[in-house]
Symmetry: C2
Subunit: 129 residues, 2 copies
């Protein structure tokens, strides 16, 4: 099938699919006319990468996961380790953002927000700390 159909089935834009091919993530056959030709199996792999990306895995991690996906002799422990690492990263990122949110809320709470120029937010950003 053509890239457009593979795009619809996998949910990935054609541009992204071509990019994945360029970086060697998912290759495609070629027809006589130079068009890429995708099999159902290719589409499943594209779909797999799509979901993994949505779950926060980097393209390089997707490459790892894809090779595990393809590997019938994989150990689930290896997959789990990758997922757990990613989970920790997400948790760390959340913690960072929550802390940011608290700082920003503190500033916003103290700003009266009217037509006067004195502003605790500006002062907070300028702060000597």
């Amino acid at each position: 099938m053509n890239i457009g159909t593979a795009s619809e089935k996998s949910g990935l834009p054609p541009k992204t699919i071509r990019y994945y091919e360029e970086i060697g993530l998912i290759r495609a056959d070629r027809r006589m006319n130079g068009y890429r030709d995708y099999s159902e199996k290719d589409v499943r792999r594209l779909h797999f990468v799509h979901r993994a990306r949505d779950l926060g895995f980097s393209v390089e991690e997707c490459r790892q996961l894809l090779s595990l996906y393809d590997d019938e002799t994989r150990e689930s422990a290896e997959v789990k380790a990758i997922a757990q690492t990613k989970l920790k990263e997400i948790e760390n990122r959340i913690a960072e953002l929550v802390s940011l949110k608290a700082s920003l809320e503190h500033l916003v709470r103290n700003c009266h927000g009217d037509d006067r120029p004195d502003c605790p937010i500006i002062e907070g950003l300028a702060g000597r700390s």
Copy 2:
């Protein structure tokens, strides 16, 4: 003062300070020898940007905030609006990550993680959904 000193005082790497100048965020005087020359006021502005970036504001938002910082006739309402918008963005991002975390946790929880190849994480990523 030279860029190195301004860097130490503001906490921003020299490369970053040069970059900010390149994009017209914070300009510097020049000495006879071509070296950049920073005043204490410049350093305060660099520091301001540093803090704003740390709080999650984009460089373009820093540009806005900086012009408000400089503007003695600003209305604090305008600053507050920017901060509130950013706060919403951070909250949205947190919500996204929390949902991601839940999905990933669900997969990880169901994976036994041993030497066998069957793996609910891989299956979840491949999932027909």
